[in-house]
Symmetry: C2
């Protein structure tokens, strides 16, 4: 029997423009025995919160990483993996690599959160810091992967990574939302989750951080922004992906942009009214809730890894 | 058909010394359609966390309050309810009273957390502040209930309140723990949850805050302490109950005492490693984890309502 091929980014979409349902079904089969569904709780601002902050590693990214690595192994490919990440993707790849027995190297910007770097190391990954923005780290990681016979795992522009994130969409449809609000950086989460939701007729609203609204601008035909520093550091992606962008175009009904003040207030209300620790990107969807209407609106709290000083600042801002 | 009588604290225990199984079954029947089970997640310190911080109102107390009020109505008794509380019991009674259509009065010490007071008001309760410790507030609330034809709902020393807390034990046994660590103030949570666990052969370890370890002292035959101020303000109970104390004696295998430094460190690690906001009492069981051994240990994070300044302090302590 011949081994399956890696899905081709050029042909991994179904005729409806969404990520192939077969890729999402395969991801669900791989992830379900390994990752428990995350909780859905009522939000003090109205609507509901999907708590990927309580996901293993503290963020949704482990879904895509685990699916990509497990699929690789199913193809008989046990190459070491390389990733670049300011945090959550690195944690996800490190966790999945350890679980699946693959060596992992994570290239992180020197500016990355020390907590996330320490977390990658604790998970057994080799961590290399580089004085580069995350895009430069990705170039390095891809080059080292090529030189050392490894596989570069893109944080969002990969069919299997996006299919892994789509499993979150399957958990959501079981809770019968009519609108889901999704933080958008590179667009991988929205591309995957949105592919599931769209097929079920659920409205999909993306949220971007002001100054890092590359997907919104690309969809509107505007020039790409220089991704500025934002509280939602995980959303700081200048250029959306070659695969994630057309998928975002197919799934997003609307894109809302929130600023750092709104994100900080959402972090504070999540912590103090909803008892949920959310990082900036994780709070972004909640920050947008006031501008989204629906019968049953779910905001994805995409992650909860943040520096002590940021949490202290959010809490103090409410005191 | 005659109406059922309120359970008698003197006779509400089964021959095994534990809270009557029939009371727990009735509580489960009343609560299950109203309160969803709370999540269980892995803890970064090892073991598992039962997140009552994500319970409606942010604490387990609503279980006992709802059961007490729903049982009262089943007896054809629609008297207004009165409670005294520095916080979570008041929130629980206010929530249950609104849901069940009973007027509620909560007497709170002037020292109570402003956030919890505001929460009770938002839930439609009449809130009266009194320059008394919570024991004095209870005396006032009981007197007003008697004068105004109302019912006083004790925060822990009531068979139906304890039976409501026991429903948390039913959720726990479904997750097959071998040890459960429970914060103990007045002992109502331990009495109820422990009654369920003990019947299933699960070990029960209580945790008290240093200076407020009235249950440990009473069980050891020592004099009652004057309950001192502690970060775990919900555990600040000087005198355990007439019903809760013998139940604690029947269910507790051990009692661990933790101090404020340990509680603050547990709050910080819960927030930053586990992305969970826990109040002092909620963090106490986690603070004790290092002193409890077992194959599958679950710590009950009993609540997550805390003042912004306390969360800021915990986060800053980790910075």
């Amino acid at each position: 029997m011949s081994r399956p091929l890696a899905p081709d980014p050029e042909t991994c979409r179904d005729p409806d423009g969404l990520l192939a349902a077969s890729l999402i079904e395969a991801a669900e089969r791989r992830l379900r025995p390994v990752l428990a569904p995350t909780p859905l709780v009522a939000c003090s601002r109205g609507g509901w919160l999907k708590l990927e902050s309580l996901q293993v590693t503290g963020a949704f990214k482990v879904r895509g990483a685990y699916n990509a690595l497990a699929a690789q192994i199913e193809r008989g490919d046990r190459r070491p993996v390389f990733a670049a990440s300011a945090g959550n993707h690195g944690l996800g790849v490190a966790w999945a690599a350890r679980r699946l027995g693959l060596p992992a190297t994570i290239v992180v910007p020197t500016s990355a959160s020390p907590g996330k770097i320490a977390g990658c190391r604790r998970l057994g990954a080799r961590v290399v810091t580089a004085a580069e923005p995350v895009e430069g780290c990705a170039t390095l990681a891809a080059r080292w992967a090529a030189e050392q016979g490894g596989r570069f795992v893109h944080p969002f522009d990969d069919p299997e990574v996006i299919a892994g994130q789509a499993t979150l969409g399957l958990e959501l449809v079981a809770t019968r939302p009519d609108v889901v609000v999704i933080p958008v950086g590179g667009g991988g989460l929205a591309a995957g989750v949105g592919s599931v939701l769209r097929r079920r007729g659920v409205r999909v609203v993306g949220v971007q951080a002001a100054g890092s609204d590359g997907v919104r601008r690309a969809l509107a035909g505007e020039a790409a922004p220089s991704a500025t520093m934002t509280l939602a550091d995980c959303l700081r992606v200048a250029v959306p992906g070659r695969l994630s962008l057309p998928l975002c175009a197919a799934v997003l009904d609307d894109v809302v942009v929130v600023d750092d003040d709104e994100i900080l207030r959402a972090m504070a209300s999540l912590a103090l009214e909803d008892r949920v620790v959310a990082e900036g990107a994780g709070a972004a969807a909640v920050a947008a809730l006031g501008r989204v209407s629906g019968r049953r609106v779910v905001a994805i709290v995409s992650g909860g890894n943040l520096e002590p000083a940021v949490l202290a600042r959010a809490a103090a801002s409410a005191a």
